[in-house]
């Protein structure tokens, strides 16, 4: 083995690689295994065993080894790297590693058939190439929200409360029941991360107990829960909101960094609601003008989250759109960023003309790694069904067909990252020993995307 000098004289790592001390973070992904490096095998014995192959990686300082593992996808880390040896397990199970990995990983889109239960696919764009992988969990999809790789879902066993799950690490955390709080629309719930307090918060909309989904907007309320801290849902102040704005609560909120946004494509709606998950204050702000009637009472403006910030894609014509980005969520400051113009590439849609009579309704549905790709689909003007998806490559200003038909006629899209993030369950359980989750039965999963032979 090569004898490297100790890393004493090494300069501090560059800003992008700076890490905090992670001494107590073991067990972030779940305290299923208590591995401490006390039983590290004898080094000499190991060397003699592996003499045929030189262990270049183990000769690196641990920090650099972890730097390399950060470049692996969450699936690879979870299915292989974590099982390789104790040291890797320990390195991977730190808050620092998990959140650095989250920063490093490429966002993509969960795509799912809108039927009650189905397995989504995860589509991402890595170095300009589209990658499609299967997700190992059958979502019911009554709510549809994702933040840092964690998704919000109805609890698979009880169906009476929400749970948070990570489809990669297969962890599930049950949230407290709603209690005296009457859920109006489960689809209008969302999850977001308050970075300053390092807490996840889940928000949902309450209605009148007798009316539920037909509750008038004036009677809609908003409830919030700090995951792992709150035992019951708390009300958020909505007194200051206008009646028009409260109508927005009937829509699924979009998650960005530190905020949840309720928007609407109703004709003439020029407002949106933004909840700051740190302060838990909802503000009502205005949105950019533009867009035209896209039939069925909807405007051709599409609010899309890229995971970090909110954008609105507003149609200028059948084949061109303006993209605005919400730069300052608190005051509602929007900036026009790019213009998407597909007039020159109309021909690529031409072979769809036999299926879809004019005019084509081309609908942007989700960002694939913001600024790199935008997923668009073509809708049938009568039944709004869609079978054809395209990816607009922002850099090259070109579109390419995304073949998803072997999976589904896809109708639900959600910005998502495959991550190793899990709730700091040690902290949760020390605060709430009575809420420690019990084993539950989950739907059998489909075969994994790739199998590990050990």
């Amino acid at each position: 083995m090569r004898d490297f000098p100790p890393p004493v004289r090494q300069p501090p790592p560059p800003a992008g690689h700076r890490r905090r001390d992670v001494s107590l973070a073991v067990g972030v992904m779940g305290p299923k295994l208590d591995i401490v490096p006390t039983l590290m095998a004898n080094k000499e014995a190991r060397n003699s065993k592996v003499s045929s192959t030189t262990n270049y990686l183990e000769s690196l300082p641990e920090e650099l080894e972890s730097e390399i593992l950060l470049h692996l996808g969450a699936e690879d880390i979870f299915k292989a790297a974590m099982v390789v040896c104790r040291k890797w397990y320990r390195m991977i199970h730190t808050h620092n590693f998990i959140y650095s990995h989250l920063q490093n990983s490429t966002p993509g889109i969960l795509i799912k058939y809108s039927a009650h239960r189905s397995y989504p696919v995860f589509v991402s764009m890595v170095k300009g190439k589209i990658e499609i992988s299967k997700i190992d969990y059958e979502y019911r999809c009554r709510c549809w929200s994702s933040c840092n790789g964690l998704t919000l879902e109805y609890h698979p066993a009880t169906s009476s409360a929400f749970c948070i799950l990570n489809p990669v690490t297969k962890q599930l955390f049950e949230l407290p029941p709603f209690g005296d709080f009457d859920l109006a629309y489960c689809a209008c719930s969302g999850i977001a991360y308050a970075a300053a307090s390092m807490e996840y918060k889940v928000v949902c909309i309450s209605g009148h107990p007798d009316q539920r989904t037909s509750t008038p907007a004036a009677m809609l309320g908003c409830a919030i829960l700090t995951v792992g801290v709150d035992k019951s849902w708390r009300r958020v102040d909505v007194q200051h909101l206008s009646l028009e704005a409260k109508e927005l609560f009937k829509n699924t909120p979009l998650t960005t960094e530190g905020f949840l946004h309720w928007t609407s494509r109703q004709i003439g709606m020029r407002r949106m609601l933004t909840l700051n998950v740190e302060t838990e204050i909802i503000t009502e702000t205005r949105v950019p003008r533009g867009g035209f009637n896209n039939r069925k009472g909807k405007e051709s403006r599409y609010y899309l989250s890229n995971g970090r910030s909110l954008s609105v894609v507003i149609a200028c014509s059948e084949f061109s759109w303006d993209v605005w980005e919400l730069k300052k969520p608190k005051i509602g400051e929007w900036v026009k960023t790019i213009r998407i113009d597909l007039e020159g590439q109309k021909s690529k849609f031409e072979n769809l003309r036999h299926k879809y009579p004019r005019p084509l309704i081309i609908e942007p549905v989700a960002w694939l790694n913001y600024d790199e790709g935008l997923l668009v689909r073509v809708l049938h003007p009568d039944n709004f069904a869609s079978e054809d998806c395209f990816v607009y490559n922002v850099g090259k200003q070109e579109i390419e067909v995304l073949d998803l038909t072997e999976y589904y006629i896809c109708t639900r899209f959600l910005v998502h990252k495959n991550s190793l993030v899990w709730l700091d369950t040690d902290t949760i359980w020390s605060r709430q020993p009575d809420r420690r989750p019990t084993p539950i039965r989950l739907q059998r999963s489909t075969p994994a995307l790739f199998t590990c032979t050990i």
Partner: protein, 163 residues
């Protein structure tokens, strides 16, 4: 500072096995470590790089020259990096990670780390252990417990929770 005179300045770098290399200052300051030395006025004579051997330093300098010759075009820089790393073996890559870290060159560090990680993509545990010569230091029970984390928990299965 020499760079302020306007004429191209050449620095002399010395590896830990006493090889000397001449490199243009404009290329060498891709390394934050070297740039700090230059800015602090310590680069008058020979710059000793005690953690990098001659073979690795030669490679790093090739990279410095290559990448600094490319104008600000991230696509071209990326394809240069890919090409530069395409023929490197594991030993060289491991040495380059160390060198890039010591020289504080984040772009090289990222590229080399990603290249090593790429080898592990979609590979089994056994394959990774064999390829990198890592011994399995889990007991069979522990390994089974780690693999257990790959499954959704099912009713009736005992968890390893301690209370």
């Amino acid at each position: 500072m020499a760079a302020e005179t306007g004429t191209p300045t050449t620095l002399t770098l010395k590896s830990n096995d006493d090889e000397l290399f001449s490199v243009a200052e404009s290329a060498a300051i891709l390394s934050v470590t070297i740039r700090n030395m230059v800015e602090d006025g310590c680069a008058g004579g020979v710059i000793p790089l005690d953690n990098v051997d001659g073979k690795t330093l030669a490679s790093v300098i090739t990279y410095m020259n290559g990448i600094s010759a490319i104008p600000a075009d991230e696509e071209k820089k990326k394809s240069y990096r890919d090409k530069f790393l395409s023929d490197k073996d594991f030993e060289t890559l491991a040495d380059m990670v160390l060198a890039a870290n010591y020289l504080n060159m984040s772009c090289l560090m990222d590229a080399v780390s990603a290249k090593i990680a790429q080898v592990m993509e979609k590979k089994s545990v056994g394959w990774v252990r064999r390829k990198f010569g890592i011994e399995n230091d889990y007991t069979p029970e522990e390994e089974a417990a780690v693999k257990e984390e790959h499954k959704w928990t099912f009713e009736g299965v005992e968890t390893d929770d301690d209370n």
